[in-house]
């Protein structure tokens, strides 16, 4: 504890107890008559000093913590309570100050703050690291996506250029047919990466586009094409084979079911059923037996290969008039975890 006298010049120390002397390391003669600021040093916060001085000038009590220095130069956190002492007329005759060494408390606080800062720094570092890695991966995905699409365009252009330079006949038709198959695969790629969900695509969206393409090359007065495709989420792995299959069956029907300007209609439908994905392609044309077997040969075996790859079953039938192709394909786990449906995969999908 210490007492100062504000009525004397520079508010000097006029009394101090033993505890104050041992805390600061000074002898009474060394501090007597001096201002308390003698305890301040380089690390004392000037803002704290200003608050203390303002309180003393205003004659207000104050509680404050600041860095003070001992006689030997070592510092300590001084937790002070300073209060004015009035005489009977209300005049301030003394300032009274009690001190406590708060260094221990401060050390803990500083250590905790340091630890906290370090942790924050490390988390920040880690986050920046992960963000950079993610950006790199995203850039890579865009690059690959761009390349796949560009290459599909190049392949398609290559086929079409060769087809243009090939005289009318089987070879020209084959090249054009290939370009169209590539077109079907291209549509899948365009749709897969445009929606943001790179794992699945919507079969209906594909079918809409695909039917527009099919109809574009048709005399629609003679051949009508209608599609009833449910909005079905299909995994990326299934997308390409399904697209190829639909393209093959519909193109076959349109090209070969109606020879000699025979009018007719082609109906394509797809629904989700308990067993998976059920697709039906029907026409009222000449039927399987009536068509020339040759041109449909490759298309048909392509369809059967794709259905096998999808672990599905296919049934071709003559329905007089016309042909009916029914396909049942089990949906894989990714297709099934769709928001469009909520059915869990059943045990029947486990069979090879």
């Amino acid at each position: 504890m210490v007492l100062t006298d504000p009525r004397q010049h520079d508010n000097p120390i006029v009394w101090a107890n033993e505890a104050f002397l041992s805390l600061t390391g000074y002898a009474w003669e060394e501090i007597s008559g001096r201002n308390c600021r003698m305890l301040q040093g380089p690390e004392t916060d000037p803002r704290a000093v200003r608050r203390l001085r303002d309180a003393v000038i205003a004659g207000r009590p104050i509680e404050i913590e600041l860095v003070n220095y001992r006689k030997d130069g070592t510092s300590f956190w001084n937790g002070m309570t300073v209060a004015p002492v009035h005489d009977e007329t209300g005049q301030i005759v003394h300032f009274y100050s009690a001190q406590a060494d708060m260094t221990g408390k401060y050390r803990t606080e500083v250590a905790m703050k340091d630890a906290h800062d370090e942790l924050e720094r490390r988390v920040g570092e880690q986050t920046a690291h992960l963000r950079a890695a993610l950006e790199q991966k995203t850039a890579l995905l865009h690059e690959v996506d761009h390349r796949v699409k560009n290459n599909l365009q190049v392949i398609s252009s290559l086929m079409l250029l060769k087809a243009r330079r090939t005289p009318r006949g089987e070879a020209k038709d084959a090249l054009q047919g290939m370009a169209e198959r590539i077109g079907a695969l291209s549509t899948v790629h365009r749709m897969l990466y445009s929606t943001g969900d790179v794992t699945r695509f919507d079969l209906r969206e594909f079918a809409d586009d695909f039917v527009s393409e099919l109809v574009a090359g048709l005399d629609t007065d003679r051949t009508a094409v209608s599609a009833e495709i449910d909005s079905i989420a299909v995994s990326a792995a299934m997308a390409a084979p399904l697209a190829l299959m639909l393209h093959e069956l519909a193109t076959n029907a349109v090209r070969h079911a109606f020879p000699d300007s025979r009018p007719g209609r082609v109906t394509i439908s797809a629904q989700r059923s308990d067993d998976g994905l059920r697709m039906l392609i029907e026409d009222d044309g000449v039927g399987l037996a009536g068509g020339t077997p040759n041109p449909a040969g490759f298309g048909r075996s392509l369809v059967e290969m794709v259905v096998r790859q999808l672990r599905g079953v296919i049934a071709w039938s003559d329905v007089a008039p016309g042909t009916r192709v029914e396909i049942l394909v089990p949906l894989d786990a990714i297709s099934l975890q769709s928001p469009i449906t909520d059915r869990a995969p059943g045990p029947e999908w486990a069979s090879p």
Binding site: Q153, V154, L160, D209
Partner: protein, 151 residues
């Protein structure tokens, strides 16, 4: 097939794609006024030919400079710019003056449909892109005179 042939500039660095596109445009009854594979050639050809339509890929021989090319070409009020790219994510929000984008890989039908749209719009007719999944407009079509020829 088309009433008035359009004069078209093709800005595309893949020679095969450019060549096939030229054949396709010819089939559709249009005229290809030039093919450029880099930005400098594209801008110079644009100034020399003042085409009706420019198809602009984003990635060219000198990098992703198609956006600059689109900006430069659309400065000519006579020219309608359409992006044709597999990299639509690089197109800025204002489309650099282009009216839309044909996504690669494209089909002949979509190219034909996009050109029909552009021709209708230039003729001041009501144009629609319905059923053209591979062709996306920059924004709702403006009604202004921006794309009709001045002078």
């Amino acid at each position: 097939m088309t009433e008035t042939p359009l004069r078209i500039l093709v800005v595309e660095d893949e020679v095969l794609i450019a060549l096939e596109l030229e054949c396709l445009l010819d089939d559709l009854g249009h005229i290809t006024v030039g093919v450029a594979g880099n930005s400098a050639d594209a801008i110079a050809l644009g100034q020399a030919t003042s085409p009706d339509v420019a198809f602009v890929d984003i990635h060219l021989i000198d990098g992703p400079t198609g956006v600059e090319v689109a900006r430069a070409l659309s400065a000519d009020p006579h020219t309608t710019v359409v992006f044709m790219t597999a990299n639509a994510k690089r197109i800025p929000d204002d489309f650099a003056g282009a009216v839309g984008v044909i996504a690669k890989p494209y089909s002949e039908r979509v190219v034909a449909g996009a050109l029909r749209y552009v021709a209708d719009r230039r003729a001041g007719l009501a144009a629609t892109v319905e059923g053209l999944d591979g062709f996306r407009l920059a924004s709702a079509p403006e009604t202004g005179e921006r794309h009709t020829p001045v002078r």
